[in-house]
Symmetry: none
DNA sequence: CATGAATGAGCCTTCATTCAT
DNA sequence: GATGAATGAAGGCTCATTCAT
């Protein structure tokens, strides 16, 4: 006869699952996907390697869920921000601000989630995140264009530009082995906002064009 | 005779070295760092695996040099572009155009060189490339600021924003498993230039600020 | 009350035990020993994996008992058949017929029980089954020999020949990935009976001997 | 520049390959497929585990080749025997004799090759062996039937009966943990020959039929 | 010097068995 | 007694690196 699963047990299981996800997240944030071996995840979570497989069918699925969770959380916050009252560009600015503010605290993870190449299964989740960003940013730009606030443009590409402009100053410096100092956080946010806001408002495309050489990368 | 033989030998050695670097570059461009195993590099170069270790002490060093070479070449082209005659912002626009035009043809390699996380040794070289981009772009912005063409700003951060805005629309679609169609190349270049040019010229920072929630990534 | 509870408990225990055995048998019949993991057996039996160990000290013991039970049942039927009235060879023919008829319906299980190699503990039980077959068949042959119906022979070895001749046409086709069609069941039975009956009655041993090469397998 | 592969090196490679095959064969013969782990095979061959994969792409392929080799050798010998001069049944008797004589020396391997369930890839090779046996034996029976020496029968099924009658007395006793004594080899061969020869010559099918109970295995 | 076979640490995954609840 | 989560020892396989030829 099956014993009723007590709240305590259910809680422990849920905790375990979260522990594993948290361990994976922590390892990915610390050293990327490469550092997050199943053995390392299990050790970080304080469990045996085999236990991981009670909660996730494979390494790829575990990582996919890490990404899915982070994406869900992230996109939920940004969506909410985007849905506030106010003119579209002000909301877009707020989205940028929220993204940057949050990402500053999780640079390596943000990098992994946006740029690090991985298993196809995981890749699918990354796509969701990327498209989520583009959707939110693109919708706000479209609204601003519809209002006549800014001139028409290819918002799909521009959305990617914004994502790049937001994330690059955060993750690029990681190569230096030292995270940008905390005192720089305000500068980072301010400059990124300035950059993105300006990019959207002005229409100076193709001004002052020079001839330029072409070649292979 | 002895001299000529030496020269011939030296030539062959240099050729071998280049072959290996070219093979590694080709494999990385084709399938990222993961696809570039030592065995695959050797096969692509038409030599034995052990021979690779005659020229490079380790896989990490080989990849570091691949990155170093590509960075040297890439930065040389961009530097030349940046040194042309004309107003700073026009030259910056040209730099952006060159970067994008070249990167469109080498998306996978560009991705690997700019975003793909790897060994710390290789990472150091990536830093050189990134800093090179920032130096070139930053210098042009500084010049424009000195001229009074654009208002003062934190050009270090802005340079990263530009790099992100340039590269993201190029590598982002890779995650979708489909490279952007060739017919989109012109749209990509035009939209990225518009975005970056606008970002630099206008000064609308901190306009229309909304309150926004904060939290962890 | 206490007595009835005890009885009920004892009944439930016995039921559980049978459930486990039946589950193991079903899984072995379906996919061989490889498919019969403890977890699968427990799931099939509708109990927890740990519960299996309340009834059986190890996987090997469980499988040994599966074999033991099947052997007991099987040998009982064959013994009963062998004990019928009639001439020994007719009874032997009946034994063969019963064996084949029953085995056709349980090819995979029959295969596992007779041919599939397993743990030494389980192997011991297989021996019992094999020896049971040999004993029954041997006794009937001995009786026929005693009667003078057939010439003397090494009935121990001949019994194994019969077992092989009975089981091989049944399990051999399993290797082809396709079970022999149902319409062939009658042909199978007829041909096997003809073969075994003939083998016992005629005495043409060592006729027409040719020289033959020898060597290792 | 590629060095010419010396005969010595080529020999060493071929030897290695043979060593691995021999090691696998030995382990399978000793303890079945289960005992033949890659680590064990490598240890038996005196090489590192990874080395095995220089010669065989996977465990399944290695085992398949072990089977293929043994089958090729075995069927070649039996085919040659079957192609000798003389009446079909005499040749069939010779085939049986050769099979038994050879198999006596490799019981466990013979068992593994004929009955042990394994990977689908390996199974395919087992099919070749089984079908080879059936083809050779069936052809001889067909010839004897054509001659009028023996009455018509389903030679496909009968061939399987012969295989079973040949192999069962050899492998069955393995369950006892002790191989049949050497002094019994002659008895085994004699009795098996007698059994098979008799089975083919006499036609007593369906004689003395008794009613028999039916049921599940 | 070149070769490429050999090495073996390390990874992901499975599953018999244990034990706290 | 029952539960099923946890354990951890294997097992198959990959690949950077070494070294005899």
């Amino acid at each position: 006869m099956a014993y009723r699963r007590t709240t305590a047990v259910a809680q422990r299981l849920a905790d375990n699952r979260d522990q594993i996800l948290a361990a994976a997240r922590a390892l990915i944030a610390r050293g990327g996907f490469a550092a997050a071996t199943i053995a390392a995840v299990a050790a970080e979570a304080g469990i045996a390697t085999g236990t991981v497989y009670r909660y996730f069918p494979s390494k790829a699925e575990l990582f996919a869920e890490v990404l899915r969770d982070a994406a869900r959380r992230e996109l939920a916050v940004l969506s909410e921000t985007a849905a506030a009252d106010g003119p579209p560009l002000a909301r877009l600015d707020a989205v940028v601000s929220v993204f940057v503010t949050r990402a500053i605290r999780g640079q390596r993870l943000a990098h992994a989630m946006i740029a690090e190449p991985v298993d196809p299964t995981v890749e699918a989740e990354r796509l969701v995140l990327r498209e989520g960003y583009a959707r939110i940013l693109g919708a706000l730009m479209d609204a601003a264009i519809a209002e006549g606030t800014i001139p028409p443009r290819n918002t799909e590409i521009a959305a990617d530009c914004i994502v790049g402009a937001m994330i690059e100053p955060l993750i690029g410096p990681l190569a230096k082995g030292k995270v940008r100092k905390k005192t720089q956080a305000d500068d980072l946010l301010a400059e990124i906002r300035r950059f993105v806001n300006a990019a959207l408002r002005a229409d100076t495309a193709n001004a002052n064009v020079l001839d330029f050489p072409k070649g292979e990368f």
